[in-house]
Structures are given as structure tokens and as C-alpha cells.
Symmetry: C2
Subunit: 85 residues, 2 copies
């Protein structure tokens, strides 16, 4: 593949992984989660867990690593949601 | 690949795409978005847009289609966030 598109994929992976940090920081700062859907984040955590299984089956380290980091962030949001309601 | 892992990938894709519906329904019902991070959703929409570009470069219809549907959902959340604040 054209190296430009490899770069696009890398930036895409970084953005869709690190994008959760502002949400986590906002919750830690304001201690409010009532507008956030628990169902969305629980389904997202389940889906990302399955992406990790798929990445292992595929032998794709980028899929495994980016989804593992994202899973940690989403589990943090689920934990904060359960705590702050 | 083992058909079981293809199924795992398909369920992963469905979950990480449709998971946004409960969040959108919750916002439409309660008309409140103040706990949701605009930065997270704007970065997520940008990242997903780049995944679509990457999918086009890769010629992968599953990457293009699942990310296109997800992008519509995230743009809906961004729009609702801009409306309800």
C-alpha cells in the first residue's frame, strides 16, 4: 500500500484510541456521568473485546494493541459510570 | 480463517457499530448532553473518517461500510451535543 495510506491508517488508529481521554478527564473533573449511556459503553467494551479475539486469530498486532488500549479506556468509562451513576 | 473467528469478527463489527444507538436514544429522550465530551466525539468522527479513507485504499468493503454507519451515528451525537450543550 501507498505509504500515505499507511499514515492515514496510523492516524486513524491513534485518533480512535486516544479520543477517549478527553471524556475520561471530563468525568474525573466533573464527577458526572448521568448523560452517558451505560448500554452503549458496555456493548462497546464487549465489541472491542471481540475485536481483540479477532486480532489474535488474525495474528494482527496493530488490531490487538489498539483495541487493548481502547478497551482499558472504555472499561474506565464504564467503571466511572457505575460509580457516579 | 476458521469460520468461528469470522463470526467473532462479524459480531465485533455489529456491536461496535450499533452500540451508539442507546446513546442516541438516551439523548433524544432526555435532551441532555452536558456530561458527554465534544472533544472525544469530534476526534472519534475524524478518526472514523480516516478509517473510511483507509478502507477505500485497502479496498475493504467491511471497513468502509461499518465505519460509514458508525460515522453517521457519531455525527448525530456531535450534532445533538452542539444542540443541547
Amino acid at each position: 500500500m501507498n505509504p500515505l495510506f499507511e499514515l492515514v491508517g496510523a492516524v486513524a488508529a491513534i485518533l480512535t484510541t486516544l479520543c477517549w481521554l478527553p471524556q475520561i478527564m471530563k468525568i474525573l473533573r466533573e464527577r458526572k456521568t448521568s448523560d452517558i449511556s451505560l448500554g452503549t459503553n458496555a456493548a462497546l467494551a464487549t465489541g472491542i473485546s471481540l475485536w481483540i479475539v479477532y486480532g489474535v486469530a488474525l495474528g494482527s498486532l496493530p488490531v490487538i494493541l489498539s483495541n487493548s488500549v481502547t478497551l482499558l479506556f472504555i472499561l474506565a468509562i464504564v467503571g466511572l459510570k457505575l460509580r457516579f451513576g
